[in-house]
Amino acid sequence: MAIETLVLGAGQEVGKSCVVVTINNKRIMFDCGMHMGHLDRHRYPNFALISPNRDFNSTLSCIIITHFHLDHVGALAYFTEVCGYSGPVYMTYPTKALTPLMLEDYRRMMDRQGEEELFTSGHIAECMKKVIAVDLRQTVQVDEDLQIRAYYAGHVIGAAMFYAKVGDTEMVYTGDYNMTPDRHLGAAQIDRLRLDLLITESTYATTIRDSKYAREREFLQAVHKCVSNGGKVLIPTFALGRAQELCILLDDYWERMNLKVPIYFSAGLTLQANMYYKMLISWTSQKIKDTYSKHNAFDFKNVDKFERSMIHAPGPCVLFATPGMIVGGFSLEVFKHWAPSENNLVTLPGYCVAGTVGHKLMSGKPTKIDLDPNTQVDVRCQVHQLAFSPHTDSKGIMDLVKFLSPKNVMLVHGEKPKMMSLKEKIHSELGIQCYVPANDETVCIPSTQYVKAEASDTFIQSCLNPNFKFQKCTSVDICNSTMIGRNLIPELKIEDERAVEGVLVMEKGKQAKVIHQDELLLMLGENKHGV
């Protein structure tokens, strides 16, 4: 049996994550995202590849959404309401709570920009009715053969890795995850499993990050320096995730340093999002969970709401504005006004998609940025690039792969050259076969299949009792090749021969059977078909 993996999105790129996995005629779609960088038909995965006649209901067993980011969930409403999929959709509770917000926000933004509307508010509401929420580590029997289970992934609130099992074939799709905890979320957590395939993100396939404490210190120093010189700090973020992370950090620091400079959240999604965080405490990190009864970490003491009129108000301030990457909207508006002053600071958290203003700021040190053919902005402000990212770094990916030790690894959600080098590393260091398919490619991966065999009573009896032996054998130990003058000492090894005593008998037309070796002769005497 094989695992057939069709990569519809996020193959050798970041955006519109969508992987369709077929195991033993069960088809699971992992994530259903959209691409933020495209406005044409490339915005959505090419669903036609799943079923040419667009009969998704019979071809797909279920859809699994890992978290609420648009590049993982953006195409869901379109797929269910416009393309007509009506099967089950699984996601965690927080994801279910936050996904409609994200989709609605996006729809409104498109609306404002006068783009063609691909789905309506009604679509979103209808789509959410198809969603089945799951809890962490809850095993869900989708149908007779298909089992899924969610594991904590860090990254953003409610993010999960999903484990799926069809028959004897087991696999994990990580979605986006983080192996180091941050101020508000824990690190990814998973059991040791016997996997045939691990599909992992690889956003930072070559980066290795140093201690987060140093990064936090640098960020705080940059912000503190800017505001103490009377400058304004613009932090463009998406509403959920980094905004809360950085805000906890700043709020703590303000408290400790007794700073009085105001911190603002741009109106809209962010304040509402904070409310959701306050409710979803059980999905945050150990510390916040432990202390929330005394003080909810998302009750920010020093944070106020920002009014549009305050853009030109004098004096220092810190502003969190949506959307991140300065792709448009309010953060772009503020950026236009604040960028020309060298006192001000723009901090860009994490990753910026090519083509956005954020990406332009990060690549090189531009003095002028063309927003559109008619508008040009002088950039004199300081730019602080935050190495804060909710994604795991290359070491984290390696650690996870090492811990799970799957038979095959597939990398998605990354940039091609970096993925190639990580692929090489996984192959050479861990000896695991690794695949890096491009979009719309299909990869077939062999998988294990267990044959059910009946066991004879004698064999079961012998298995119940331990039966181990010690063997002296000369070790040929590769690790010791560097040691000087080490004699090859016979090494003590233990063998438990219980399983070895069994003999697998396969008779024509009958189910395979395991019998004890002593029984074999008896059986052969009667039956010449024994193998």
């Binding site: 180091t180 905890p181 824990g186 690190a187 957590q189 998973i190 059991d191 040791r192 499993l193 016997r194 290795i208 990050r209 140093d210 201690s211 987060k212 404490y213 140093a214 210190r217 400790r256 990190s285 150990q286 510390k287 202390t291 770094d393 070491k395 650690d399 090492k402 811990f403 030790s405 260091e429 119940l464 009792n465 331990p466 181990f468 010690f470 690790c479 090749s481 560097t482 040691m483 000087i484 080490r486 000492i489 016979p490 090494e491 003590l492 090894k493 233990i494 063998e495 438990d496």
Partner: protein
């Protein structure tokens, strides 16, 4: 109550004939009610016992009842347990229950190998699990058999059995050394395989086995020690990325046991990037190797990952393991300190405190080098919200040597800030100031003018009079001028100011002097003009400024132990009550920590790192001095013992230097050596005779130190007093032998060799052997672990002369005896001890008066009485000064150089400071 029992009692009796049937559950439960009721008559219980044992077959319930009888009725316990014995024969779950009951109050039960093996190999998995887990320490199963069985069961398909057998291996490793290296290696390798087990609980135990057996493997072969240590280190680091929090905690616990790791790997554990392939210096043989890279990848960033962990348990565990690891490499310590400083911003108090504790350890080891960049986070801990954090931080500040003025000034500012925000910390902050001043005299001199201006302004304007800042600054100033320091630049008026705050500040100096001594010191200082500020002699009355360095003059343990601390009431009230109780434990823990440290130092002493050792000892001693102690608890005994022990080790270190080949012929200081040996002699004798309540092992450790001191003398000093020393050595050796005979302890190599030597020389000449032979003997000596468990009592005496001081001398008439009224308090002195009052005069006269303890009937722990000592030798002089003190006759030594007439037959060990008595002749006019 009784009637109730009566009604219940017949029940077991009523059906004696039906015993062959199984007892009903109802009957059994009423039996249980009777058994656990303490007022059930014994006869009833023995009836029940009989009924139970007579019933045809023991079941789970009957076994439980028998166990209950054994625990609730000690008199029947043996009978009940014996009736359990037959069950253990069969390999069932029941047998295990019976065995568990038999070995319950942890005692060793002997079971034969057959039973052990049959239970293990029986079909019951839970029985198997229990057996592998407990076989090691509950039953005396042969280690050889046990290890084989445990090793075998690490292959068991049941995870609990695998985990159990690994745990069994860990317990086994605690029991001792295994000489079969291949067996140890097999265990280690099997555990390494299980590090990749599917089950968390198995991985957890595997980590423990890797740590314990891996280190055993490393210890088994000195050539391969580095190799195996690095291996184990890498394996443990690898588990720092496990997904189970408990496994991660255990991995870092394992790192705490590391004894050596090559520096490259240590540094690698601080960086996630695998680097430094070029740098390694032959630690692993030649150049860069695949092996090295492989290990380095495993190690990479382990510590950083641990410190970044989501769970405070893990972060705390990492901070703890850094205590050990930072002592392995200087460079690592330097880099790890940067990370530790970041941990002071941690959200969890436990982690912050542990980070500070780790720095404190580094400070003790002299590894704490603070830099400008650490300043902010480090000092911020002083204004932390948590009392524990602030306290831990101040503990470091008391010890640390700051190396630049800016750091010093910021520390002072932050401490003052601490005082402003948390007035309840006043006592400890003051004491910190006092230590800071003593440790940084030069810096205090540099900022004395600023301080002076502030103090002056406060006194003139009375503005800040209420605040604690001024006393704090005064403490800093006063402490800098302690210990004969040359700080002439301090305006004398500062000391006068300090006098006005005396009641508030004297506690900050309680570790070096009491209130009166401080007052005397301040008065003296405020009077002097600046030139002759040094060397104030405070020999008036009873107060003396004890000398820290060099103890040539006073032969008594530093007065820091003896001196009375009288805490003022309100200050005591400030202490939380539990604080008081925990002090004793804290002291004992710390004492044992110090004693364990000394053990670690011994190899250093032997290899001649005398200066390093002396520095560490000094730190430990200062540490010891900072320990708070309440005057009631027996923590005084622990502190007195430890401080004396410390001094002995210090002297040993100094003497040992002369044994080393390099120093052997350096003529400098034969006299010095002589005096050191003399001191060593006295101190060791003090250790032997001023403490009671040693166990046999402890006694042996002390006696061995005496043997060592004599052997050192025999080996080093010219023959003037060899004969006497030799005799003493033989006497002490006889004592050792007799103790060895009585106890089960085995003699150390040193003792054995010494014994042979003594035997030979007594046969040949009856006199001493050659120094060279003793030299060889000394090489065999190794310090033994002394664990203070609270049984040891300090013998001490407090002597005060009544109604007299230098201003009011006692009158005498020359030629007639004079009575000196003494008030004597004796602690822990038994009535068999022979106590003497020694009176001496400057002209060399010495007189003794025997103190007959039978005359003063009091409790042994504390005796308090007054006693008038007669003094006969009143001469013609107008004034006489007499020094009086109390001494204890060494009961164990019967060899003495001179037999004085009327005085003690053996050497005296002084129990208190010498007190001066002033006598003046009565004028007839």
């Amino acid at each position: 109550m009784d009637s109730q029992i009566e009604t219940l009692e017949p029940e077991p009796e009523s059906e004696p004939n039906q015993i062959k049937q199984t007892l009903s559950l109802h009957t059994l439960s009423s039996m249980r009610a009777l058994i656990i009721n303490p007022s059930t008559p014994k006869s009833t219980v023995s009836l029940i016992l009989e009924t139970l044992t007579r019933s045809s077959q023991l079941t789970h319930h009957t076994v439980n009842l028998l166990t209950d009888i054994a625990t609730h009725h000690p008199s029947l316990s043996q009978l009940a347990l014996d009736s359990l014995l037959p069950v253990t024969e069969s390999p069932t779950r029941l047998a295990v229950e019976a065995l568990a009951a038999l070995s319950e109050p942890p005692r060793r039960v002997q079971i034969d190998d057959r039973v052990f093996v049959s239970v293990c190999f029986g079909a019951s998995v839970s029985a198997r699990e229990w057996m592998v887990l407990n076989a090691g320490y509950r039953f005396g199963v042969r280690p050889g058999l046990l290890v084989a069985v445990l090793l075998g069961f690490t292959k068991d398909p049941y995870p609990n059995v695998r985990a159990g057998s690994l745990e069994g291996l860990v317990r086994l490793s605690e029991r001792g050394e295994f000489h079969d290296v291949s067996l140890v290696e097999a265990c280690y390798r099997r555990a390494v395989q299980l590090l990749r087990d599917m089950e968390d609980c198995v991985r957890l135990c595997a980590v423990r086995v890797v740590a314990s057996w891996g280190l055993m493997l490393a210890a088994s072969n000195s050539d391969m020690k580095a190799y195996w240590s690095n291996e184990v280190f890498a394996k443990l680091c690898c588990m720092a990325r496990d997904m189970s929090m408990k496994v991660r905690v255990e991995a870092f616990c394992g790192l705490r046991k590391m004894e050596m790791v090559s520096e490259d790997f240590l540094l690698q554990s601080l960086s996630k990037r695998v680097s430094g392939f070029g740098k390694q210096k032959g630690t692993l043989g030649q150049g860069k190797s695949e092996q090295f890279i492989m290990l380095a990848t495993r190690v990479a960033g382990a510590i950083v990952h641990g410190l970044e962990d989501e769970f405070f348990e893990v972060r705390k565990s990492v901070c703890q393991s850094l205590c050990t690891l930072t002592s392995l490499s200087v460079e690592f310590g330097r880099l790890a300190l940067d990370l530790l400083m970041d941990m002071l911003n941690d959200g969890s108090i436990v982690v912050r405190v542990q980070a500070l504790e780790t720095m404190h350890h580094m400070a003790i080891k002299g590894r704490l080098k603070l830099h400008e960049k650490h300043l902010y986070s480090f000092l911020c801990a002083l204004v932390d919200k948590s009392w524990d954090v602030r306290c831990a931080e101040r503990k470091i500040l008391k010890l640390v040597k700051l190396n630049d003025l800016a750091l010093f000034k910021s520390s002072i500012d932050k401490l003052l800030e601490n005082l402003d925000s948390y007035p309840q910390d006043e006592a400890d902050v003051f004491s910190t100031f006092s230590h800071l001043g003593r440790n940084h005299k030069k810096f205090v001199c540099l900022i004395i003018n600023e301080i002076f201006v502030q103090v002056e302004a406060a006194f003139e304007g009375n503005v800040e009079f209420i605040s604690a800042r001024i006393p704090a600054l005064l403490i800093l100033t006063v402490s800098a001028s302690l210990l004969n320091a040359d700080v002439g630049s301090i305006p004398p008026v500062m000391f006068s100011y300090a006098v006005t705050f005396l009641s508030r500040i004297y506690n900050a100096f309680s570790d070096v002097m009491d209130r009166d001594a401080l007052l005397a010191f301040l008065c003296e200082k405020s009077r002097c003009t600046g030139d002759s500020a040094t060397n104030v002699n405070l020999g008036q009355g009873e107060q003396q400024l004890p000398l820290f360095e060099g103890d040539a003059r006073n032969e008594v343990i530093d007065s820091e132990i003896d001196c009375h601390i009288t805490r003022e009431l309100e200050e005591v009230a400030n202490y939380p009550i539990e604080q008081h109780q925990s002090v004793y434990n804290e002291v004992i823990n710390f004492t044992n920590y110090v004693l364990a440290k000394l053990l670690d130092m011994w190899p250093w002493i032997q290899s001649g790192y005398t200066n390093e050792v002396l520095r560490s000892l000094r730190c430990l001693k200062e540490e010891l001095a900072t320990m708070k102690f309440d005057s009631l608890g027996s923590s005084d005994d622990a502190l007195a013992f430890t401080s004396l022990y410390l001094r002995i080790i210090k002297l040993l270190a100094e003497v040992w230097e002369h044994l080393l080949p390099a120093k052997r012929w350096c003529s400098q200081g034969m006299g010095e050596l002589e005096s050191k040996l003399g001191k060593l002699d006295r101190r060791v004798k003090e250790l032997k005779s001023r403490f009671i309540g040693f166990s046999a092992e402890e006694e042996l450790i002390v006696l061995e130190l005496m043997l060592l001191a004599y052997a050192l003398r025999l080996c080093k000093v010219e023959n003037c007093c060899l004969n006497l020393t030799f005799k003493r050595l033989t006497a002490v050796y006889a004592l050792v032998e007799s103790i060895l005979k009585e106890s089960s302890a085995s003699p150390s190599n040193f003792t054995v060799e010494l014994g042979k030597l003594l035997h030979e020389s007594s046969i040949c000449t009856g006199a001493s052997s050659s120094p060279l032979q003793f030299d060889a003997c000394l090489k065999l000596f190794s310090l033994k672990q002394f664990v203070f468990c609270g049984g040891i009592k300090h013998i001490k005496a407090v002597l005060s002369i009544l109604n007299t001081d230098s201003e009011h001398p006692l009158p005498f008439v020359s030629g007639l005896p004079v009575g000196i009224p003494c008030e004597i308090t004796l602690h822990n002195i038994s009535s068999e001890s022979r106590l003497w009052l020694r009176m001496s005069m400057d002209d060399g006269f010495m007189g003794f008066v025997f103190l007959d303890l039978n005359c003063f009937k009091n409790s042994e722990a504390v005796r308090n009485f007054t006693f008038v000592v007669p003094f006969y030798k009143t001469s013609k002089a107008n004034f006489l000064t007499l020094k009086v003190c109390i001494g204890l006759e060494c009961s164990f030594e019967n060899v003495s150089p001179i037999r004085r007439f009327g005085g003690p037959k053996r050497d005296l060990v002084l129990l208190c400071k010498e007190k001066q008595v002033y006598l003046s002749k009565v004028n007839k006019d």
